[in-house]
């Protein structure tokens, strides 16, 4: 099997956590009893039903067990075929969405221990994001502090939608801790379902959830820019996972246009939103919502105006492309080394500490 993308850094892999029962060895006595006595196991997120086609590619579903369920699978399906030198595990699990923040904290901590023990310890190429109980920034910071010494944890994972817009100051302790430890903050396509995913109420179908998530990313990004998160934490990087890029130019145009008129209201936004975006925001390359004609992709990227934005990702085991065609057709050749490796190294300072 020839690697299509040798040396690549895969920024978005999703290990499947079977459920809370798999975390029992990592929970203390109280929480173990709570989980067992309630029979609490499956905390899957609404956007990722296990058997939905989108959730796992057909040829990545094993005969037995969960898609994305083992280190053997990530090696055989993601790391080896693509020739990736590093892969970042971003666990999709509902623990951060729990209303009980103490339980959320216990389960996030156990999940991070599970990732460290059962994944990171077993393949030196693997890194991971830190799952945090984001509805309590105080507890989230405790988990970041606890985990920060393990340099294999390279970013902080947040749900794409939670109780508050992410720019709100109540969330700033998370950004402060992330910046302090050289950890980008990554938003995943998941919601704590506190609020409807559209400004006009609840949609009916899964397709609406996934397409509408571009709106969610825009709301969060605009909130973080307007509230001054990037002015206050200039070293912070924001990684949008599974966000797509088609919406970016119009977002930047509109944001800059309105900023010119209204910037007195938010004088800490001392550069136009497009400039802030280019300095601070990175987007994983799968799924790509590129124009139908590959020749138009270069024009789209030109409109975005950043060679640093795109990060290589397979989004394993989600079904986004066939074979090893993780790089979209039409990606300008000059961007290839940046997308495959250089942009990730510039985004994640911890990756440079142990370069394979």
């Amino acid at each position: 099997m020839s690697a299509e993308t040798p040396g690549a850094i895969d920024c978005d892999l999703h290990p499947a956590l079977p459920g809370c029962m798999a975390l029992l060895p990592y929970l203390d006595g109280h929480w173990r009893e709570e989980i067992v006595s309630r029979g609490l196991d499956d905390l899957d997120l609404a956007l990722w039903p296990r058997n939905a086609p989108l959730t796992a590619r057909q040829d990545w579903r094993p005969a037995q067990g969960l898609a994305g369920g083992s280190v053997d699978l990530v090696r055989a399906q993601a790391l080896d075929p693509f020739g990736s030198s590093i892969g970042i595990l971003n666990t999709l699990f509902g623990a951060p969405a729990l209303h009980n923040v103490d339980m959320a904290a216990a389960l996030c901590r156990a999940t991070n221990d599970w990732v460290a023990r059962e994944w990171l310890d077993r393949d030196a190429r693997l890194r991971a994001g830190i799952l945090v109980p984001m509805e309590s920034p105080e507890l989230a910071v405790q988990e970041i502090e606890r985990r920060a010494a393990d340099r294999r944890f390279v970013q902080v994972l947040l749900l794409g939608a939670a109780e508050t817009l992410l720019g709100r100051r109540v969330n700033w302790p998370i950004y402060e801790a992330a910046e302090k430890h050289g950890l980008p903050v990554a938003l995943q396509v998941t919601s704590a379902t506190r609020v409807a995913p559209t400004a006009n109420g609840w949609p009916t179908y899964l397709i609406e959830d996934h397409v509408n998530f571009a709106q969610t990313f825009q709301s969060q990004l605009l909130s973080m820019i307007s509230e001054g998160v990037f002015s206050r934490y200039p070293g912070l990087k924001l990684v949008l996972l599974n966000a797509g890029i088609g919406w970016v130019p119009s977002f930047l145009w509109r944001g800059t246009k309105e900023w010119r008129a209204l910037r007195r209201e938010v004088p800490w936004v001392d550069r136009d939103p497009a400039a802030i975006f280019r300095d601070h925001v990175r987007i994983s390359i799968q799924p790509i919502d590129a124009p139908p004609d590959p020749a138009d992709l270069a024009a789209l990227l030109e409109m975005v105006g950043s060679d640093e934005m795109l990060l290589f990702a397979t989004d394993w085991p989600h079904w986004r492309f066939e074979g090893t065609d993780a790089l979209p057709p039409g990606l300008p050749e000059r961007l290839r080394p940046r997308v495959l490796r250089e942009n990730a190294l510039a985004t994640y300072p911890r990756l440079k500490e142990s370069l394979p």
């Binding site: 100051r169 001054g228 002015s231 010119r260 008129a261 910037r263 004088p267 800490w268 001392d270």
Partner: protein, 137 residues
């Protein structure tokens, strides 16, 4: 370029502005606490008459939640979309190197000198004992 008498100083008190038309060009003249400045009366965005805009200070911030107002009276906001321009230079605040309004040189000259020429006093009668705002266009 030629010099044009556009107003008597006494008719353009501190903090005021006046629109004039010189060689067919609409120009707005400002008195900033005794210093005079002139800009084309046309926003580079969509052409609004700047003269109708609000004159304010500059709001800046060192960190979110903090506001500093400085340069009171030296910024004009376009009446249509609120873009801010520095009256002293014509530069926009949002993109000063690319979005700017053409400034014109202004000076104050005594009437005694003006009556000798070669100034063009299109509409303003000049008296020897007064000072005048003179625009070079």
């Amino acid at each position: 370029m030629s010099k044009h008498v556009v107003a008597a100083v006494s008719d353009l008190p501190a903090g005021s502005r006046r629109q004039v038309t010189i060689k067919g060009r609409p120009i707005v003249v400002f008195n900033l606490s005794g210093e005079f400045f002139a800009l084309v009366n046309r926003c580079p965005h969509q052409g609004a008459g700047l003269c109708e805009g609000e004159i304010t200070g500059l709001v800046t911030s060192d960190r979110p939640g903090e506001f500093h107002v400085s340069r009171e009276g030296e910024i004009i906001r376009c009446p249509w979309h609120g873009w801010e321009f520095d009256i002293r230079t014509g530069q926009s605040w949002c993109d000063p190197s690319r979005i700017r309004i053409r400034p014109y040189p202004v000076e104050v000259a005594p009437g005694a000198r003006l009556v000798q020429g070669p100034y063009v006093a299109e509409t303003v009668p000049v008296r020897i004992e007064e000072d005048y705002v003179v625009l070079e266009v």
